[in-house]
C-alpha cells in the first residue's frame, strides 16, 4: 500500500474587512451599480472588528486554538457567544490583523505594485518586526513609504486601488500595465493577497514541522486565482513565487487548479510525487480569496446577522515519506468523480466515498470522521445556502443505508458520530475538506482517531467550459506500526518471489 506522511499542517486567517468592503465581489459590484446603496452603508456599519473575529469559535477552530469537539459543544450561535479573550495564535497558525497583512502584501510584492503611506509603513515595520516568523530577509522588502499625496495621485490618475485602515487611505495597489486587464490593479491585488496568505501559512508550516525554509523541496499552490498577462492569462506558478517570498531557496513548484476540489487534487498529486521519490517533500499551499469576502453579506445585513465573511482563509500541508510515526495518506483508495459518473448526489457520493471504501475493504463506519465542505453554517444558513456539512453528512448516511451498513433510523446518529461542525470561512476552495486535516492528524497522533476521509468538490461549470462538477477524496489514517511502507507489493511481485523460491527448491532437488 502506497502511503505518505502528513508531517505538519498550518492554517491562518487574514482578517481583511476593509479590503472586503471595497473589493469583495458583492460590495464591489454594488459600489459600481449603486454607489450610494443603503446596503453598503449598513454593511460598513455592521462590520465586525478584530476583537470579535479573534473570539469567534469557528475562527479559533480553524487556526487550531479550539478542537472540533469543543466547537461542537459550543453555545450557538457562536457570534452571540464569543470567547472571553481574543486569541491571535493557535496550534496551527494565526489570525493576522489587516494592517499587518497589508504590510505582508508589500513584503510579497517584487514589482513595486504596493505603495504604503509613510507613517503607516513605519508602524507596520514595528509590528512585523515583532512577528515571531518574519525574518530580516522578509522585512527588508517592506518599503519606507511615501507621502499621502503621492498615493492619492496614483489612485486618481493611474487607476491604483486605495487600501484603507479605519477609513483612512494607508496604501494602494497599482496596475501592472496600462491596457492589459489581466494586470489591472484589481487582478493584481487579488493575486498578491492570495500569494501573501500562502506565504504566511508556509512560514507557519515550516515552523510547525521544525524545519528550515531551505529544507522545502517543492511547493504546490492550489488557490483559485490566475496569474498571467494578456497572452497567457492563468500562466501560473504562483507556487514558486510563494516559495521565493518564504525564502525556500531549494524549492521549485507548480500550481494545480480544480476550483474547490483543488486542495484535495493537489494533495493527491503531491503525495504521488513523494511516494514516487520524485520530490523529497512537498508543501501544498493556498492563500485566500478577496472576491469571496462578504459574498453573502447582503442577506446577513438584511437579517441583522453579523457579517462574518471578513477573513481570507489560507493553509499549508507538508507531505513527506512515510516514517511510521506520522499519520499517513493512503493512495490505494482514492475517490474520483469521473466524467461518466453522473451528477446526482447519489452518484457523486458513491464515487467519492463508497468506491474508495470498497477499494480499501472498509465500511462506512470504519471512517471515524468525514470532512466534506466544512463551511461555517452561521454564515451559510442566513444566506439561504443551508448547513452545507450537515447536508453532505445526510447524503453519506443515506448511502450507508442503501448499502445496508446503517439502519434508516440511525441516520441522525451516523451524522452525529461521523460528522463535524462547519468552521471554515466561505472561501471556495478553503472549506473543501482540508481544514480538518490538521485536526485529524493530531487526533490520530494522540490515538483518539483511526481514520478520516477528506472530500473536495468543485463547481467546474462556473468556468463555462463544461456542465460537470468535479470531486476527489482521500483517507488519512494511523501509520502502520512497522512504518516506512511507501510502495505497494503487487501480485506480480509475489509471483516473482514464489518463482524464485520454487527455482531454488528445484535446484536443490537436482543437487
Amino acid at each position: 500500500m502506497a502511503t505518505v506522511a502528513v508531517k505538519a499542517t498550518a492554517y491562518c486567517l487574514a482578517f481583511t474587512p476593509e479590503i472586503g468592503l471595497r473589493y469583495g465581489t458583492t460590495p464591489c459590484q454594488e459600489h459600481l451599480a449603486h454607489p450610494d446603496s443603503p446596503f453598503l452603508k449598513d454593511l460598513a456599519r455592521s462590520a465586525q472588528p478584530y476583537d470579535v473575529a479573534s473570539r469567534y469559535a469557528p475562527n479559533l477552530t480553524y487556526i487550531g486554538a479550539m478542537t472540533t469537539d469543543q466547537l461542537a459543544a459550543h453555545a450557538q450561535p457562536c457570534f452571540a457567544h464569543l470567547e472571553d479573550k481574543p486569541q491571535r495564535f493557535g496550534r496551527y497558525g494565526e489570525i493576522m490583523p489587516e494592517d499587518e497583512f497589508i504590510g505582508l502584501l508589500d513584503i510579497c510584492d517584487v514589482f513595486d505594485l504596493v505603495w504604503l503611506e509613510r507613517d503607516f509603513a513605519a508602524s507596520i515595520k514595528r509590528k512585523l518586526t515583532a512577528h515571531p516568523l518574519m525574518t530580516d530577509a522578509q522585512l527588508k522588502h517592506l518599503e519606507e513609504g511615501r507621502d499621502a499625496a503621492e498615493l492619492a495621485a496614483e489612485v486618481a490618475k493611474n487607476q491604483a486601488l486605495p487600501l484603507y485602515q479605519e477609513g483612512k487611505m494607508v496604501g494602494c495597489c497599482r496596475r501592472g500595465h496600462k491596457t492589459d486587464e489581466n494586470l489591472s490593479a484589481h487582478v493584481l491585488l487579488e493575486n498578491l493577497a492570495s500569494k501573501a496568505g500562502a506565504v504566511l501559512s508556509l512560514l507557519h508550516l515550516i515552523r510547525n514541522a521544525g524545519m528550515r525554509p531551505a529544507d522545502i523541496d517543492f511547493v504546490v499552490d492550489c488557490s483559485e486565482e490566475a496569474a498571467g498577462d494578456i497572452n497567457q492569462r492563468g500562466g501560473g506558478n504562483m507556487a514558486k513565487a510563494i516559495a521565493e517570498s518564504a525564502d525556500c531557496v531549494n524549492a521549485s513548484g507548480f500550481d494545480v487548479r480544480a476550483f474547490c476540489a483543488a486542495p484535495v487534487a493537489s494533495i493527491i498529486t503531491s503525495a504521488s510525487m513523494v511516494v514516487a521519490g520524485a520530490r523529497k517533500n512537498v508543501a501544498v499551499v493556498s492563500g485566500g480569496s478577496i472576491p469571496k469576502l462578504y459574498m453573502n453579506a447582503r442577506e446577513h445585513v438584511k437579517k441583522n446577522v453579523p457579517p462574518m465573511e471578513n477573513s481570507m482563509g489560507c493553509f499549508a500541508v507538508l507531505l513527506t515519506p512515510d516514517d511510521g510515526q506520522n499519520p499517513v495518506i493512503r493512495l490505494d483508495a482514492l475517490g474520483k468523480h469521473t466524467v461518466g459518473a453522473g451528477a446526482s448526489p447519489q452518484a457523486v457520493t458513491a464515487a467519492l466515498i463508497w468506491e474508495p471504501l470498497l477499494a480499501a475493504g472498509l465500511t462506512f463506519t470504519d471512517v471515524d470522521k468525514y470532512a466534506p465542505e466544512l463551511h461555517d453554517p452561521e454564515v451559510t444558513v442566513p444566506a439561504g445556502a443551508g448547513n452545507v456539512p450537515e447536508a453532505n453528512y445526510k447524503m453519506v448516511a443515506a448511502l450507508a443505508v442503501m448499502k445496508g451498513q446503517c439502519e434508516k433510523a440511525g441516520i441522525q446518529d451516523f451524522v452525529k458520530r461521523h460528522g463535524l461542525p462547519g468552521f471554515a470561512p466561505t472561501q471556495g476552495h478553503i472549506p473543501s475538506g482540508v481544514p480538518f486535516l490538521g485536526h485529524a492528524a493530531d487526533a490520530i497522533r494522540e490515538g483518539h482517531m483511526k481514520r478520516a476521509m477528506i472530500i473536495g468538490k468543485g463547481s467546474l461549470f462556473l468556468g463555462r467550459l463544461t456542465n460537470l462538477a468535479d470531486g476527489a477524496s482521500f483517507m488519512v489514517e494511523a501509520p502502520r506500526e512497522a512504518g516506512g511502507s511507501q510502495v505497494a507489493v503487487s501480485k506480480d511481485d509475489v509471483e516473482a518471489v514464489i518463482l524464485d523460491v520454487l527455482g531454488d527448491l528445484a535446484k536443490k532437488l537436482k543437487e
Binding site: 446526482s344 452518484a347 453532505n392 462556473l462 456542465n467 462538477a469
Partner: protein
C-alpha cells in the same frame, strides 16, 4: 401522454444539492421541453 407533455421547464440546480444535469435526466422522457437549465454554486 404524461402530465408534463408540451410543458416548458426551467431547471435551477445547485452543486451540493441537485445539479441541473441530474434534473434534465429525470425529465428526459417526460415529454416536456427544458427551456432553461443551470447549476449554481452558492458556497
Amino acid at each position: 401522454m404524461g402530465k408534463l407533455t408540451g410543458k416548458k421547464l426551467i431547471l435551477m440546480g445547485e452543486r451540493d444539492g441537485i445539479p441541473s444535469p441530474a434534473m434534465e435526466s429525470v425529465f428526459a422522457g417526460s415529454g416536456a421541453e427544458v427551456a432553461y437549465a443551470a447549476t449554481e454554486c452558492f458556497v
